[in-house]
């Protein structure tokens, strides 16, 4: 017989704190969708293989289907609903619109959360599998289409919008560099 025990937790999502009692089996993804009505985060496979449920956990991307809600207590969760600055779209969101970097839109929230984190990862000078030279003296990895393809490969898109996703993320990453420069 499966456990039916529950836990009352405090979840911090998009800057707001929510107190809720969850079934211990509840994933962060289901807590967001079914309890907080934050359905922008999508369930594509529910087993960490597609990236549609990507959110930011303390600023780093994570598959929310692989996190239990009870384990997310005390962490800062950012979903696609929390990416924009009020009515003003995040540069990644604007670039997705402008470059038509989506079709059905179902993988899009996860793609956008991933892309927001990818730009942060560039700023933090993290290398990827596509970084040719990871020695410190080689300098930080450069924003390139190859780097973005690699870093965005945890987010599947079945409509086949990758070509435009790469353009959109490149544009947003370059814009972010200009802002910090």
């Amino acid at each position: 017989m499966a456990s039916t025990r529950t836990t009352t937790i405090s979840l911090r999502v998009n800057g707001e704190t929510h107190s809720l009692t969850v079934d211990n089996r509840t994933t962060l993804l289901d807590a967001l969708r079914e309890r907080l009505d934050l359905t922008g985060t999508k369930k594509g496979c529910d087993q960490g293989q597609c990236g549609a449920c990507t959110v930011l956990l303390d600023g780093r991307r994570a598959n929310s289907c692989l996190q239990l809600a009870v384990a997310a207590e005390g962490r800062e969760v950012t979903t696609v609903e929390g990416v924009s600055d009020g009515e003003r779209l995040h540069p990644v969101q604007q670039a997705f619109l402008d470059f038509d970097a989506y079709q059905c839109g179902y993988c899009t929230p996860g793609q956008i959360c991933s892309a927001v984190a990818v730009i942060e990862e560039f700023a933090a000078e993290w290398p990827s599998a596509a970084t040719a030279d990871v020695r410190p003296e080689a300098g930080p990895p450069k924003v390139s289409e190859e780097e973005i393809r690699e870093r965005m490969s945890g987010n599947l898109c079945r409509c086949g919008a990758y070509v435009s996703i790469v353009r959109a993320v490149t544009e947003a990453a370059e814009a972010a560099k200009r802002v910090t420069a």
């Binding site: 017989m1 499966a2 039916t4 079934d23 089996r25 509840t26 289901d30 969708r33 079914e34 009505d37 934050l38 359905t39 922008g40 999508k42 369930k43 594509g44 496979c45 529910d46 087993q47 293989q49 597609c50 549609a52 979903t79 696609v80 609903e81 990416v83 924009s84 779209l89 969101q93 997705f96 619109l97 402008d98 038509d100 989506y102 079709q103 059905c104 839109g105 179902y106 993988c107 899009t108 929230p109 956008i112 596509a130 289409e145 393809r149 690699e150 965005m152 490969s153 987010n155 599947l156 898109c157 079945r158 409509c159 086949g160 919008a161 990758y162 070509v163 435009s164 996703i165 790469v166």
Partner: protein
């Protein structure tokens, strides 16, 4: 308030009537639902909250053939939160003979104890929460009396037979003496090409919510045609069509898989039995046995030609996997019926029904596997005859459609070859294979032709002239990611002669009346026609300057007679695809470096989304060439790779720069000039890549996907 001037009527412009505009179609427009999609506000079928919502979870058979001996529901019903266990012993009775394309046994769920294949629904568990439903479904003990099964598809399987012709199965063609022409040919190609089972895998799992509200069945579903689904539900559950409403506002991809599926039927059963809203969402793994797939094919192509490559004979036989439970025919010979003229033509289609779930339509059904076989064979003929692949194709341009004998409404494939060759740098290609290297990579270029039928089907639409000067269009169209909603706004704006901002587009609601599905690349064409006719009807009801009452003035149109009254022509979109690949001959790895597709697909409504649609299709072609293939476990009868970790499709890092563009293709066979371009992008892509792999290595690849072992083994 007065009405703006409408296109068919007065040309007088007064102070109160805005200048007539008709330039929306053809300009790039971002999607009207774009902001909702990038901010997470777009609600898909599984996203809409309902009070008192219960959750259904499917239980699927674990044997491939047999009978259910027992279902031990009692312990599960005692579990926390469990509301019901539906099975063949207690489920509502359904009306047989119902289906999207004729009687479909797959709709008859929980009606008897038979198990036709592994992964067939045997129960639905309903509970208060997702967690409870899932745990209960996993705890349900079902026992079976197993019977032997057969899931091993081969072209020469004893069960192979020619299916009865139907609206979906064109009869075989035999014109001229293929054997005599082959015997007289200077060059002959005779090869077998195989394609595996391929799975749609839309990102959004199939989801439906059903509830009864004031005596009416209300459904929110992920589907490709809300009205068709409402009709089917009414028939299956013996209800009046008026008492069923189906909505499908946003759909997270479909590709042919979101017709009329188990999740919806079971949600309606549960909502009816429990009298409360029930949502059923398929798991990714369940999608592999419940929403169809492209069946495996084995295709033999025989080409006979004169020394200069002129075809004397084209013989194409396609054998495809089907289901003993519910037949589906993959019409792979569509490509050979449309592309090349030969003195003698023979096309034959066979199926092998086995103990597997029913295959179904998947992006460019028939065209996709058929083009792999025929376009690969044409490349082999080019090699054998020493002719350039493009010149060979041009030489064999038919005067009329080879299969039907009908004239083409237009055929601009040569312009696609020429423009594609120019932009891809085809002229610089050394025809000899294996001549270009880049370090450890062997490089090659390949091309193939694309084609897809440009059909149109009846639809109804209404347009309301509102008192505030705006217009509301209602049509049971579906936007499954194609950009249809936006395209139809542009169509309507031009038809009404108003700015697009004045048009409100309401779609995906069965209450709007009959309309063809988003399928067969026919959606936008069919819906545009109905909307244009509704605009004409409105212009006759509302004259410029007429007062508009608060409820507006509505005009309707139904294109059934117009569509049925056209002369018979062969109407197709065409294209040419080019690919450059790099092959690591020591590991067998194939990387696509670039692709270009040039298409002749009629009038382009929205260049921004049209390009996305074509590139998306080409991405599918790449994915089909390199990655995709369902693997049957012969012992269990199920699929060995039923998840996204094991069933691979292209990820971002697999996809290089892909360009798609088009040539002028005026064609008024459909009054709108639209041909539909949803699917043509996938047609020919895999052949272009396989042909490029030959060019890189000198070794032919006739089995998809082009796995490492196949690329390596072929050279041995």
């Amino acid at each position: 308030m007065t009405a703006p001037s409408l296109p068919i009527t007065s040309t007088t412009t007064t102070e109160s009537t805005p200048t007539r505009t008709n330039d929306a179609v053809g300009a790039a427009n971002t999607r009207v639902e774009g902001i909702a999609k990038v901010t997470g506000q777009a609600r898909y079928a599984g996203d809409i909250p309902f009070a008192e919502l219960a959750y259904g979870w499917l239980v699927l058979s674990t044997v491939a053939r047999g009978r259910i001996r027992s279902i031990d529901a009692e312990p599960v019903l005692a579990m926390s939160g469990v509301l019901a266990v539906l099975h063949h012993g207690n489920a509502p009775r359904l009306q047989p003979g119902v289906g999207l394309m004729g009687p479909d046994a797959s709709t008859l769920l929980l009606q008897d104890d038979r198990v036709p294949y592994r992964g067939w629904p045997v129960a639905l568990v309903v509970a208060e929460t997702i967690e409870q439903a899932r745990a209960a479904a996993e705890a349900l003990v079902v026992t079976y009396d197993e019977e032997p099964h057969d899931v091993v598809f081969t072209a020469d399987h004893p069960a192979a037979h020619t299916p009865e012709p139907s609206r979906l199965v064109q009869p075989d063609v035999e014109r001229g003496d293929v054997e005599a022409e082959l015997a007289a040919s200077a060059v002959v190609v005779d090869e077998e090409y195989t394609t595996p089972e391929q799975y749609h895998n839309a990102m959004e799992p199939h989801a439906a919510m059903a509830r009864w509200e004031n005596g009416r069945l209300e459904v929110v579903d992920a589907n490709q045609g809300s009205h068709a689904v409402a009709q089917l539900l009414a028939a299956l559950f013996s209800l009046d069509l008026d008492s069923v409403r189906v909505r499908s506002e946003h759909v997270g991809g479909a590709f042919g898989s979101k017709g009329f599926n188990a999740h919806l039927i079971l949600a309606v059963m549960a909502a009816t039995q429990l009298d409360r809203p029930v949502r059923v969402v398929l798991t990714r793994r369940q999608m592999f046995s419940l929403v169809g797939y492209r069946p495996a094919t084995a295709q033999r192509v025989r080409l006979g030609a004169d020394a200069d490559g002129r075809l004397r004979a084209l013989d194409h036989e396609s054998v495809s996997l089907s289901s003993a439970h519910q037949q589906f025919v993959e019409a792979s010979t569509r490509h050979s019926r449309a592309l090349y003229g030969a003195d003698a033509l023979r096309v034959r289609t066979k199926v092998v029904p086995l103990d597997v779930g029913a295959p179904s339509f998947m992006r460019a059904p028939g065209w996709t596997p058929g083009s792999f076989a025929v376009e690969s064979a044409m490349d082999e003929l080019a090699e054998k005859s020493g002719e350039d692949p493009i010149r060979l194709r041009v030489r064999n341009e038919p005067a009329v459609a080879p299969g039907s004998g009908l004239p083409f409404s237009s055929r601009n494939v040569i312009a696609c070859y020429e423009e594609g060759a120019r932009r891809f740098g085809w002229a610089d290609r050394d025809p000899r294979p294996g001549t270009r290297r880049d370090g450890r990579w062997s490089l090659g270029l390949g091309m193939a032709a694309s084609a897809h039928s440009a059909g149109v089907a009846p639809a109804t639409a209404s347009i309301t002239a509102e008192a505030d000067g705006t217009f509301t269009v209602r049509i049971a169209a579906a936007d499954i990611g194609t950009g249809a909603r936006t395209a139809l706004i542009l169509i309507a704006a031009d038809a009404l002669g108003v700015p697009q901002e004045s048009v409100r587009m309401k779609i995906a609601d069965s209450d709007f009346g009959p309309a063809f599905l988003a399928g067969g690349s026919m959606g936008t064409t069919s819906w545009a026609w109905a909307i244009t006719e509704a605009a004409v009807a409105l212009s006759k009801k509302v004259l410029p300057g007429d007062p508009i009452p608060p409820e507006g003035i509505t005009a309707k149109a139904d294109t059934t007679e117009l569509v049925g009254g056209r002369e018979q022509l062969e109407s197709l979109g065409f294209g040419a695809q080019f690919a450059e690949v790099a092959v690591d001959v020591t590991t067998g790895e194939v990387r696509v470096r670039r692709m270009l597709g040039i298409f002749a697909v009629g009038r382009i409504v929205n260049p921004l989304t049209a390009r996305s649609q074509l590139i998306g299709g080409m991405t599918w072609g790449l994915s089909m060439a390199l990655h995709e293939g369902g693997v049957r476990d012969t012992a269990s009868g199920g699929l060995a790779n039923a998840d996204l970790a094991a069933y691979h499709y292209a990820s971002n890092a697999d996809v290089p720069v892909i360009e798609a563009d088009w040539v002028d293709d005026p064609d008024t066979y459909n009054p709108s000039g639209i041909k539909g371009l949803g699917e043509i992008g996938i047609v020919g892509g895999a052949a272009a890549i396989a042909n490029a792999v030959w060019h890189a290595t000198g070794v032919r690849q006739r089995a998809l996907p082009l796995r490492l072992d196949r690329v390596l083994g072929a050279g041995a």
